[in-house]
Symmetry: C2
């Protein structure tokens, strides 16, 4: 087993305290406290249940006991004291997305990530999109229902790893997801004047949230900046570390249901988010989906040979098209002359791929006979237009932030791209479409699910001060209050022509 | 209602926070937090249950809400937020004595003590004296039984005042009582090497102790110095404030089952306790009892007229003799020549008052026909000897502490006398018997139940730093390690002769 690193959320160590004697400190707990202090763990708190077992365990262990310590706001909780070493000590990072919930299971004894996976957010039962869920949750009993749905689902997943061995859970989610997780009323989040209940959640007892894990387990949830700028972005930023960069300017771009962008470095952070519309995510296209086996992720159109080739994730039979696939598809359609720079479908060739879906023109990427479910996978005219508005909003935000700071895209050191398809994004396609500036071609770097990675990072580096300095340093720009927004946006809704 | 005093354990105040607006802080909780900060309450913590009701209460109250704040180790707990003022906000100080439990019910809205009373400690069911209870509690299920007996009994009392209105409980007790209250194993308290489980308990959630009061109520229990020097003495010291005295030397003397004595001032505190034997308390004499209606508390013997007069508490028919009565009785017997300076009964006159009880000579204070129960109230030869040993131990401790500091009794500014009969003690009788030095005649001051008063004081001045500085400043002298003890004691066991 590794020697303990002081800064993790959970530390497991064997501590030799002095035995009782007439000369030394009289009390069992204080002798152990003293021993922990010499190892760097001060301000320890013993729950009564631990104190009740302490004398026996100390003597069984000849005063050399195993302790499981949990980081709290003001010190350490002694969650376990035992003569024998613990068999399993886990922490779980949870990225509570509106569509999916990602779990990262970390083993503190082996010091390694043992599992990482996603499940569907059970809240989709109530509504596919957030607005439907917000509407549903207006009444207390409905809110409680969504809260229970969420917590029950997470408890069920945690139980798979042995609930009582889980000592820490770190959670990130957007502002609405955080409210649902905590069971807080959402009525005022999107009603003017908008006002979520709380910005920060801090470190709480896991049972306060209803998490059924180790009795003294703690839960940390990332704070929010505002209704549109939640803990998932703070978590992503925390992971990206642009707030630590000493030189140059860095973009942190989270492409999800919203376009959330932060520009800055160690000295300042300026943020903006736009209801870019969920079009960038892919998931809400009629044939769209999140990245998963069978999702079309790559599309190439050969204008000369008049052919289309695609690839799917895991090379399975196609079932849908994911976000990065959509971006490339539209870029390829444009380069082949099959859409105009305004996004209008032009059936110039491959007419067999053009069809009407409920009176709307659509372009077929995979024919029914090729797909797993035996139905065409296509993109509709309206979806393309909607996508172009979204990518326009994204570009507008990037431009606006640079203008605010007084720099140009050339001054950017790195474009960190996070989000559902952060790792898969075809930067060249995004540049072709004018979603990202051409400077991104060489300077873009995918961060994957930065939010989830940030929550995992918290388990290993629970630096509350660093997170609160991020919060303090961020200046948030409200798009709808920016007169320049519409000006820039007007020119960004189209695909740029050389 | 009084304006809030910042330093109490519970504060009730109406706080005007700004309403949500586009320009100000977005979040409900943080706006309220900001408003509380301007009133001096920083580091506030909102339980989720409070956050869940916050938006509605804020808007019902037009953002001018009532808050109930509870002092915690690192700040304030927002225990209630409501549009309407709370009807009742109570705190209870509990002095957990081995014989009786004293309750002090404080009303934080009216800023006054509303009730003060005592009940029998239900642990007497298990054993009259502490040693019997320690023996009984060796096994976990028996310990749990005593713990439950104690907590159930306290819960039952608290329920009389409306459990949910009780927001704070402060507790003091000796080391064993504190362990029983917390349900901690007592096996190593009096077994060499002696080692109680914990010195400090800090501020905890009341429910951690099983107290069934307000869901976010806190409980503070005073820390101990050692097995024989518990939280009740620290609480008493805290009340006596000798640790704040700038000039001169002060004695704090607690006369109970043990003789616990502290000498010092702002600069130092030196403490000693002796298993003086419970003889000083009166309670364990065959006809002894605690101060209560019908207890003989005053005894006068007229040597010339050969008569004895007594008074009882509340002037009721006598049933027993309390501690202060015993001291005066023995002093009067000595002055009348009815006992020798070694404590031997001398039936020189009033022969009708001398009788044999199971072959042991006894002196009758009240005859059967005068008493409520129709039985004689007497003191036995052995009890007198035992008392003299106890008073000798007390005097020895006082002398020893002065020697340690290098001062004499003349240098003492004040003898604060606390304990069961702290308010009733006949100082002249105690001086006659050589229990207190003659300097005490003019300088003794009764503190009553200093332990209970100290617990009450905590509710109003929860100064954790002050208490921990008391703990740090105390040097504890172990009697049985003092070679001088037996030397001084040898001369102190007798009644001094002019």
């Amino acid at each position: 087993m590794d020697s303990p690193v002081r800064s993790r959320c959970v530390e497991v160590l064997q501590v030799k305290s002095s035995p009782p004697s007439e000369e030394l400190i009289t009390f069992d707990a204080q002798r152990l406290e003293e021993a922990l202090k010499t190892q760097g763990y001060s301000s320890v708190f013993f729950p009564l249940k631990v104190l009740k077992r302490l004398p026996e365990e100390l003597r069984k262990a000849d005063f050399n006991v195993w302790c499981v310590l949990l980081k709290d706001e003001n010190g350490w909780i002694v969650a376990e004291v035992s003569a024998s070493p613990p068999k399993e000590v886990l922490g779980v990072a949870v990225d509570l997305g509106s569509t999916g919930i990602a779990f990262y299971v970390y083993d503190f004894l082996q010091s390694k990530l043992v599992k990482k996976y996603s499940i569907l957010n059970p809240q989709v039962e109530v509504g596919e999109d957030i607005l439907t869920r917000l509407h549903f949750a207006r009444k207390k009993e409905k809110l409680d229902y969504i809260n229970k749905l969420t917590i029950d689902c997470i408890n069920k997943e945690l139980a798979k790893f042995g609930s009582k061995n889980i000592y820490y859970v770190s959670v990130c989610g957007n502002t609405v997801m955080s409210h649902f997780f905590a069971g807080l009323p959402v009525n005022h989040i999107f009603m003017e004047p908008r006002s979520p209940v709380t910005q920060s959640y801090g470190i709480r007892e896991a049972k306060e949230y209803g998490l059924d894990i180790h009795p003294f387990a703690r839960t940390y949830m990332f704070p929010s900046i505002g209704p549109y700028f939640g803990g998932d972005i703070i978590s992503g930023l925390f992971f990206s570390e642009i707030h630590r960069k000493e030189d140059g300017f860095y973009f942190f771009i989270d492409v999800g249901t919203n376009a959330e962008v932060v520009l800055g470095n160690r000295d300042f952070l300026i943020a903006c988010s736009g209801a870019a519309g969920p079009a960038l995510e892919g998931g809400i296209f009629e044939c769209g989906c999140q990245a998963k086996p069978g999702a079309i992720c790559t599309v190439k159109i050969d204008k000369e040979k008049k052919t289309l080739h695609y690839q799917t994730i895991a090379n399975e039979k196609p079932v849908c098209i994911c976000g990065s696939g959509v971006i490339e598809l539209i870029a390829e359609l444009f380069k082949a002359g099959l859409i105009s720079n305004e996004g209008k479908l032009l059936p110039n060739f491959m007419q067999e791929r053009f069809k009407k879906v409920e009176d709307e023109l659509a372009f077929i990427v995979a024919f029914a006979e090729e797909t797993l479910h035996g139905r065409d996978v296509y993109i509709k005219q309206g979806e393309i237009k909607s996508f172009l508005r979204s990518k326009g909003a994204m570009f507008t935000i990037l431009t606006l932030l640079c203008e605010k700071v007084g720099i140009s895209f050339e001054d950017i050191e790195k474009f960190f791209i996070a989000g559902t398809f952060g790792n898969h994004i075809k930067v060249d396609a995004a540049v072709t479409l004018g979603m990202l500036p051409k400077e991104a071609l060489k300077k873009a770097q995918g961060l994957g699910n930065a939010a989830g990675e940030g929550a995992l990072k918290f388990l290993l580096e629970p630096d509350l001060e660093e997170i609160s300095s991020i919060i303090k340093n961020i200046t948030y720009i409200e798009l709808n209050k920016e007169p320049r927004f519409m000006e820039i946006f007007a020119g960004s809704r189209f695909i740029p022509v050389e």
